[in-house]
């Protein structure tokens, strides 16, 4: 209590500026709810425009914050980290949200789901993710997770006339509730073991101990389960395929990318940097989960016949690759590799899901493999973009995915965890099969007179989003130093204070 009162003498403006992006989006959330009341149903694209403006403003604040947060500090009595690490992740999350919002109006109109709350909920989830990314206290972590989860529960069930969407929402809610319970229990144990909820203080209190306190270690394990659920790492991935498939595709687009990015950011902050002194105790578990995720995700994806489920399992596998960067803690290259992987994954996976969203017609969501057969002969550019994303997911140069995998694998080798790199490379080989299978289907000429899925016309916004994702995927594969340098800088500035890169 003494420490808390000392820290409470905060200068409010400085703290408010630190939370500027979150505040902008929260304000926009309220405005959107109000605006929705007076906007006629035919004009709801206006709400998307307002959201985009808010997201652009928040992005501006994040970019400004990147330069301002040169010297990392905590704000709000040590509960929120104002550092480059957080800004880096915020940038990815906001970009994902903006791209999702841009493809949403057309999609929602076609599906008859165009309601104003949609945009408000997306922004709320974004705020939750940004809070999570910057959270420097267990309480704020929980707050962020709940804010993003509750918004996503609702969004998953947004197709309120479809049982599948309802089922997805319910599954996500119940299993998410379980995971939150486990997470909270872990937090409680850690608080019990260390007496603190702030990460910096937890780190300090751990510095002296040998880190073998079972109470603390069980807490760490349970906390990891909570995070593993959010990043959909096996064996806590069960919800992922069902929810990704059932939720409206635009929601899946957002959820598959942004949630994972934000949850990974917090996972890295808590494990790699806060529990830095006891890495030998928990990296084994992380490595195990990473391997299980890579194997389960990639193998289960082999026999899928649904695009969304395939991408869900692919996402589970990708979570495994990103976890390699955590499992090699405290090697700073691991963090850099994971951050790079997150950026690459965001650009690529968002693009892949955006393709499915943009093409979805009026009736059923575009989901089955048959629905994409022969796409290249009707929509050559969209098919080319999708093929490009699939190549990136498979890890071919010169795409983002190649360097992402290269960086985490080389981090594993650097940290003398060669077996992780070998597991990664081996499972990547398996993944080529199911990625290229979809690519092959797109380039299979439909038979004479064969009906193809009634793909929607690509609007300007949809085309723009695909182009932006493809550009991001390409830039991360060619201008490697841009994001690599940023990731190194983010790693340098992360709170609690990290090991320095050699």
């Amino acid at each position: 209590m003494l420490l808390a009162t000392q820290n409470l003498q905060f200068p409010p403006t400085r703290d408010l500026i630190g939370l500027l992006p979150e505040l902008i989006l929260s304000g926009a959330f309220v405005i959107l709810l109000m605006l929705d009341l007076v906007t006629p149903p035919s004009r709801r694209s206006l709400l998307a425009a307002v959201s985009l403006v808010a997201l652009a403003a928040a992005m501006g604040a994040v970019v400004w914050g990147w330069f301002d947060a040169d010297h990392a500090r905590t704000i709000y009595a040590g509960s929120f980290a104002y550092d480059r690490f957080g800004r880096f992740v915020d940038g990815i999350v906001i970009a994902s949200a903006a791209l999702t919002v841009a493809i949403s109006p057309d999609y929602l109109n076609r599906r008859g789901l165009h309601f104003g709350e949609y945009y408000a909920l997306i922004l709320a989830a974004t705020v939750g993710m940004m809070l999570l990314a910057g959270a420097a206290s267990l309480i704020v972590i929980f707050l962020g997770i709940e804010l993003l989860s509750i918004s996503l529960y609702i969004l998953s069930g947004f197709a309120h006339t479809e049982t599948r969407s309802q089922e997805a929402a319910l599954k996500y809610l119940l299993l998410g509730g379980f995971a939150s319970g486990i997470l909270l229990y872990g937090m409680a144990l850690i608080y019990g073991a260390t007496g603190h909820t702030q990460l910096t203080l937890i780190k300090q209190s751990l510095a002296g101990s040998s880190g073998t306190d079972p109470l603390f270690l069980v807490g760490v394990g349970l906390l990891f389960v909570g995070f593993a659920f959010k990043v959909s790492a096996a064996p806590f991935h069960w919800w992922t395929p069902d929810v990704y498939q059932g939720a409206p595709t635009s929601v899946t687009t957002f959820m598959s990318v942004a949630t994972k990015v934000a949850a990974f950011a917090s996972l890295i902050r808590v494990f790699t940097y806060t529990f830095a002194d006891s890495t030998d105790k928990w990296t084994g578990i992380v490595a195990f989960v990473a391997i299980i995720s890579m194997v389960v995700g990639n193998v289960a994806a082999l026999t899928q016949t649904s695009l969304k489920r395939m991408l869900a399992y692919s996402g589970i596998a990708q979570a495994g690759y990103i976890l390699i960067g955590v499992a090699v803690s405290p090697d700073p290259l691991g963090t850099v590799g994971s951050l790079y992987y997150l950026a690459a994954y965001a650009a690529t996976n968002l693009g892949a899901f955006a393709v499915i969203t943009v093409l979805a017609g009026r009736g059923e969501d575009l989901d089955s493999y048959d629905g994409i057969r022969g796409l290249a002969y009707r929509r050559p550019y969209t098919a080319a973009a999708m093929a490009f994303f699939l190549f990136s997911l498979g890890g071919f140069p010169p795409t983002a995915g190649f360097f992402a995998k290269f960086l985490v694998f080389s981090a594993a080798i650097h940290a003398h965890a060669v077996y992780l790199a070998l597991w990664g490379i081996g499972t990547s080989v398996i993944s080529i099969f199911y990625y290229l299978r979809v690519g092959l289907l797109m380039y299979t000429r439909p038979k004479e007179g064969e009906e193809t899925y009634p793909w929607a016309r690509t609007s300007l916004a949809g085309g723009g989003v695909l182009a932006a994702s493809a550009a991001g995927t390409l830039v991360l594969g060619i201008l490697v130093f841009l994001i690599y340098t940023a990731a190194v800088s983010a790693q340098h500035g992360v709170l609690p204070v990290p090991q320095q890169l050699a």
């Binding site: 379980f178 486990i182 389960v225």
Partner: protein
């Protein structure tokens, strides 16, 4: 030149053709022939303008700062003591000469293509490929990092493959493209191994390893990394030379070039005469610092060059396809250039590269006019007597032939005799190889004027020969422009200076600084030796030309009569191109194919398929197993999660915490 300017110019020069490639590919089909005809040549013209600025900048730069290396972007930098690859460009006299030729000659050939490909429906694809080639070639010569150079190197092979197989309905074109590509890949592999060897063996004077393949760094640290004449550097240089041989169609990787004539004639002129095939010469010149450390490898290069020059010259004597004759002549001339860079006469090699690009592109394009006029006839036995109706093309062709044969005052004379002069005093087995070079001069005169006499003189051999028309202006003007250049370039560069008593001429004055740095270029021959070599070389050329005129123009004695007196084995050897295709077929292709078929019949189904299918089945089965747990029931999922968590807690409490 300051770095920013160099960066901007280098980027622009690369960006134009790349943009042209993309524009032609994406918008060409929509906007049609007019659009493509403007964009395709236009972008190369723009690059040429930038190249002129570069030339002015490099010429104007003070003596010590002719070379500028600029990092366009840092592609990969994984911290100190780790891999670093930058997209770096070098603008120096050597790369300036290359880009001037690539863009200048390239522009004329692009213009010519507008006429030549007038009736071809795939014009957008054609110009897209052509621009891709120009981009790749520019990347190759501007690259200041071996990784980027290899990327350009491979892209050049790719665009060559695409253009040789441009008429993909013809099986022969597809086969030729494949052959060219496979040969290129052999060279690429050698290059990449060489790069890996360089990467692992580079270290600075203090013995610290260097984690980059940036060319200036390699050259700066070459002497501290390698002992003079050591096995490692000899191996690296030999591997680089194999890469160069594949690209430059030198023995034993030469067989693809004649087949590559399946491509459209402008392609032959641009890629398989003026630019791509000289990349090997450029490579060795660029890596002169390493070759100066590896005299054995350099000597091998020289021997291979001169050997190829003789062999190709002999083959050219008996070929009947107009383009193949010129192709073998190209091979022979590049042999001379390779010989030059092998003996350390880098400047002379590059000088001959420049003049050769001019007159060889000219010969191909003039031949293209003939082929075009005769409705795609390429057999010289069915030509003849075209002189009366294609006067301007003939004049241009003659100018090219004079330059090729090395007749005084034509461009080729200056460069070739200058080159051979070095041979008289430097290189292994000197002056034996020089004497062989004199022999090449005789051969050159023979085949060059044999071609002219058969194609343009005598009587038309087919009815169509009487009805030909001169080529349209868009095809004629580039040819005439090159004819002018082939005639005058040498004079312009050399004559006034020598009259005024200046010793060194313009080209060597421009290029020598590049090769002087750290290297030991071959010594200039003394004035006496040079004069003697000049007279001997010129005499040999004249003997060759005179012989050709007697045999094929005046028919006294007739060529057939002479051929019947030469041992039959010799004529057969020439006609069958020394049986290299047959040899490779018997030694490489057939055994490989037989082995592959055995694999297909025996090993594949029995062994490989077994475990591959088995593995696939295992994973598919595993996948289905995993799926069966994905029941869709919340209670299942929750119990799996709780179960996994419980196991984790048990492990933590009883294993990790102890």
């Amino acid at each position: 030149m300051n770095g920013t300017l160099a960066g901007v110019l280098g980027t622009l020069i690369l960006a134009f053709p790349l943009a042209g490639c993309v524009l032609c590919a994406l918008l060409g089909p929509r906007y049609g022939r007019r659009f493509v005809n403007w964009v395709g040549p236009g972008v190369v013209g723009l690059s040429f303008l930038v190249a002129l600025i570069v030339l002015a900048q490099v010429v104007g730069a003070p003596e010590h700062s002719k070379s500028t290396t600029v990092e366009i972007w840092n592609w990969l930098f994984l911290g100190a003591g780790n891999l670093h690859v930058g997209v770096d460009l070098t603008l120096d006299p050597l790369s300036t000469v290359m880009i001037m030729v690539i863009c200048g000659v390239g522009f004329l050939i692009h213009l010519y293509s507008v006429g030549y490909m007038e009736h071809d429906p795939g014009i957008a694809r054609f110009f897209s490929y052509m621009n891709l080639f120009i981009f790749s070639m520019l990347l190759l010569v501007l690259a200041a990092d071996l990784v980027i150079l290899i990327i350009g190197w491979a892209l050049v092979a790719l665009s060559s493959y695409l253009l040789i197989g441009y008429w993909y309905e013809r099986p022969s074109a597809v086969l030729a493209a494949r052959k060219a590509f496979i040969t290129q890949v052999i060279g690429d592999v050698a290059m990449i191994i060489a790069a890996a060897m360089l990467f692992t063996s580079l270290h600075d004077a203090g013995g610290h390893r260097i984690f980059t393949l940036s060319l200036p760094t390699i050259f700066a640290n070459a002497s501290s990394s390698f002992s003079h004449g050591g096995p490692l550097i000899t191996g690296i240089c030999a591997l680089l030379a194999i890469g160069a041989f594949a690209k430059s169609a030198q023995f034993p990787l030469h067989t693809w070039l004649p087949d590559a004539m399946e491509g459209p004639t402008p392609v032959s002129a641009l890629i398989h005469a003026a630019t791509m095939v000289t990349a090997g010469v450029y490579l060795i010149a660029r890596f002169h610092v390493l070759y100066d450390l590896a005299p054995v490898a350099a000597g091998m290069v020289a021997c291979v060059g001169i050997g190829t020059a003789v062999m190709a010259g002999v083959i050219a004597l008996s070929q009947v396809d107009i383009k193949r004759v010129i192709a073998y002549s190209t091979m022979s001339q590049i042999g001379l250039m390779i010989f030059a860079v092998g003996i350390g006469a880098y400047t002379a090699g590059m000088y001959h590269f420049v003049t050769h690009a001019l007159f060889k592109a000219l010969l191909f394009m003039a031949a293209g006019n003939v082929i075009h006029a005769l409705a795609d006839e390429q057999d010289i036995r069915l030509m003849g007597g075209l002189s009366a109706r294609m006067r301007q093309t003939e004049v241009a062709f003659l100018a090219g032939s004079f330059a090729l044969a090395g007749i005084p005052i034509f461009a080729g004379w200056f460069s070739k005799e200058y080159l051979l002069g070095f041979g008289a005093v430097s290189g292994p087995l000197s002056p034996l190889l020089y004497l062989v070079g004199i022999g090449v001069n005789v051969l050159t005169g023979l085949y060059a004027f044999r071609l002219w006499a058969i194609v343009f003189r005598g009587e038309p051999q087919t009815a169509r020969g009487y009805a030909v028309h001169e080529a349209p202006p868009v095809m004629l003007w580039p040819v005439l422009a090159l004819a002018g250049l082939s005639t005058l370039t040498g004079l312009i560069i050399q004559w006034p200076i020598q009259i005024l008593g200046g010793g060194a001429h313009l080209v060597s004055g421009f290029l020598d600084p590049v090769f002087a740095a750290g290297g030991h270029p071959a010594g200039e021959p003394g004035a006496g030796v040079a004069a003697l070599a000049l007279i001997a070389g010129t005499a040999a050329s004249l003997v060759g030309v005179g012989g050709a005129l007697r045999l094929w123009l005046w028919h006294q004695p007739d060529a057939q009569a002479v051929a019947s007196r030469v041992p039959r084995s010799l004529t057969l050897l020439s006609l069958h191109k020394f049986y290299f295709d047959e040899l490779y077929d018997a030694v490489l292709v057939r055994p490989t194919r037989a082995a592959a078929q055995t694999m297909r019949r025996v090993v594949e189904p029995g062994v490989m398929d077994g475990w591959v299918r088995g593995l696939a089945d295992v994973f598919a089965g595993l996948s289905l197993d995993f799926r069966s747990y994905q029941s869709g029931l919340i209670r299942d999922y929750a119990s799996y999660m709780i179960g996994a968590t419980a196991v984790g807690v048990v492990v933590i409490v009883f294993v990790i915490a102890h």
